[in-house]
């Protein structure tokens, strides 16, 4: 009985050490668990697939580097899709690190022949959060007179005829914050809005998807993995899924231990059920 009670008093450091192993081992030796494609990813892929070569989209990289682990696999997969179709992308950053993240994302495409100013451009970061989104959607060139690479935006061929959100085919955003501000500011321009979100905030975006205000969403690391599968280009997302599976199983195992301990303690009539980790 005492052994069962001790199951509820495992040191946090043991939990952390086991979790590291549970995450690390599948990354080094993948299990190859099958990944089915969810309805959100399927829908989003379908929406983005309607874009044609030469179409212009605004892509807002609204995540900080801290959240990149969750959202960047989606971004990379979507970029592969859009650049592969010849879509022209106007990047903007809603976080201070946004422009730097954009530069790292476009580097391989630029090396492969995509031309800055023609196939894509990086307008940089505009302070102000939702206010910034409203501003550049209303008047892109006024909000960004100069881009991140210090070019005059009026001189960029990709921005010919693009004065704001109404002049592009689609708005795509990737964020670790909420999707409300994008829906609030962009719906009025009547263009499809597609978003990549972290797991935690995706339930908040569901009503917008149901209402048609968001054309599609990608949810967390799994969304990125599913998109990679649809693109037939498995990457970091797919590689991380096995680790996620093992991590979840480990946490469930600890929850079971904790409850066995709790029930054993209650049965033994011990006072207090606060046998927490130290």
């Amino acid at each position: 009985m005492k052994t069962l009670q001790k199951l509820g008093q495992i040191d946090s450091r043991v939990i952390y050490a086991l979790l590291i192993l549970a995450l690390l081992i599948p990354l080094m030796r993948p299990l190859g668990l099958p990944i089915s494609i969810g309805k959100h990813t399927q829908r989003t892929f379908g929406v983005l697939d309607t874009l044609q070569a030469g179409d212009k989209v605004i892509m807002d990289i609204g995540y900080s580097v801290s959240g990149a682990a969750d959202v960047q696999p989606q971004t990379i997969a979507v970029l592969k899709h859009l650049f592969g179709k010849g879509v022209r992308i106007i990047f903007v950053g809603n976080q201070t690190e946004g422009p730097m993240v954009i530069e790292s994302l476009v580097k391989p495409y630029e090396a492969a022949g995509k031309k800055y100013g023609v196939d894509f451009c990086n307008l940089g970061y505009l302070a102000g959060g939702e206010n910034a989104i409203a501003s550049y959607c209303r008047d892109l060139k006024k909000s960004y007179p100069v881009d991140f690479r210090k070019n005059q935006t009026s001189s960029l061929p990709i921005l010919d005829g693009v004065n704001g959100a109404k002049d592009v085919k689609m708005f795509v955003f990737f964020t670790t914050q909420n999707s409300d501000m994008y829906v609030r500011q962009i719906t009025q321009y009547k263009i499809p809005i597609v978003g990549g979100l972290i797991n935690t905030i995706s339930p908040q975006a569901e009503p917008y998807v149901n209402a048609g205000q968001l054309a599609g969403i990608l949810v967390g690391l799994r969304g990125g993995a599913e998109y990679e599968m649809l693109m037939k280009a498995p990457g970091v997302g797919v590689a991380s899924m096995d680790a996620q599976s093992m991590g979840h199983l480990l946490i469930i195992a600890f929850i079971i231990f904790a409850n066995i301990s709790y029930l054993a303690t209650r049965r033994a009539g011990a006072k207090g059920d606060k046998g927490g980790a130290k």
Binding site: S66, G67, G129, T176, T187, Q188, Q204, G276, K278
Partner: protein
């Protein structure tokens, strides 16, 4: 005249304004009671715990600004800070505060100074106990976790705007065996606070903290007005659900206008 798609929103906002003003007028005529909020009832106990243990109180209203969408929870956090500051001054307990934005720092400093002045303990006020960490989310988190681990407070207040750092801060508090009281309107983080903290104020409970503590009739009246709006919302929801179930889309179409 009206922007398409926003008429329902306008009507809702006007109704909210009207009901809040109604609540204000009722509250000024006769006293209104608020239901007890466990997290707020525990504040005095929490400060007392720190005083008895001879350890500091740790407070953070989050890393966000007092402007924009993060303003209401940050301001609510600062309101509660004023109250906790007064208690800390009264019981001569050290209060350590971290904020993550320059504007919030300026307000927190002034609010705390006022709290100490009101208690007649202005000489005890030490601006060195208020830390302005970076406004970068995880830099703020790192600084706050470090401070909690070094200061080993008896009580930790995490009441304001928090995002992904919520669980990290709450666990840092738990690791030092502190009593933790949390409150935020960011409902993605509420489950994490519920799991890791001793007391959690959910959404509007936290926004109503100022009214509950101050017992100010105007604030209580506005909270009452908000409740009237919610009752109206519930009625519309129920009516809409029943009507939609019978194939009638009137409410549904009205809300889309």
């Amino acid at each position: 005249m009206f922007v398409a798609g926003r008429v329902a929103g306008l009507v809702t906002v006007l109704a909210a304004f009207a009901f809040v003003l109604l609540g204000l007028s009722f509250a000024r005529k006769r006293p209104m009671r608020m239901r007890p909020i466990p997290g707020l009832l525990a504040v005095e106990e929490a400060v007392g715990r720190a005083t008895e243990m001879g350890k500091p109180i740790f407070y953070s209203p989050g890393y966000a600004d007092v402007a924009g969408t993060t303003a209401p929870p940050t301001l609510a956090g600062l309101n509660l800070l004023a109250h906790v500051g007064r208690l800390a001054a009264r019981y001569n307990t050290r209060l350590v505060v971290t904020v993550g934005h320059a504007n919030t720092y300026a307000l927190a400093t002034e609010i705390l100074r006022n709290s100490y002045i009101v208690e007649g303990k202005v000489d005890q006020f030490d601006i060195g106990n208020i830390y302005f960490t970076s406004d970068v989310q995880f830099a703020y988190t790192a600084a706050t976790v470090g401070l909690i681990q070094r200061e080993k407070p008896a009580t930790v207040f995490l009441t304001g705007y928090f995002a992904a750092e919520a669980i990290v801060l709450a666990e840092a508090a738990a690791a030092t065996q502190s009593l933790s009281i949390s409150g935020t309107t960011n409902y993605f983080q509420i489950p994490f606070f519920m799991a890791a903290c001793d007391y959690t104020m959910i959404g509007e409970e936290f926004l109503a903290a100022g009214a509950f503590i101050s017992n100010n009739p105007d604030l209580i009246g506005s909270v009452a007005g908000q409740d009237y709006v919610k009752i109206l919302g519930i009625l519309a929801l129920l009516l809409g659900a029943v009507m939609k179930s019978f194939g009638n889309n009137v409410i549904f179409d009205l809300l889309k206008r």
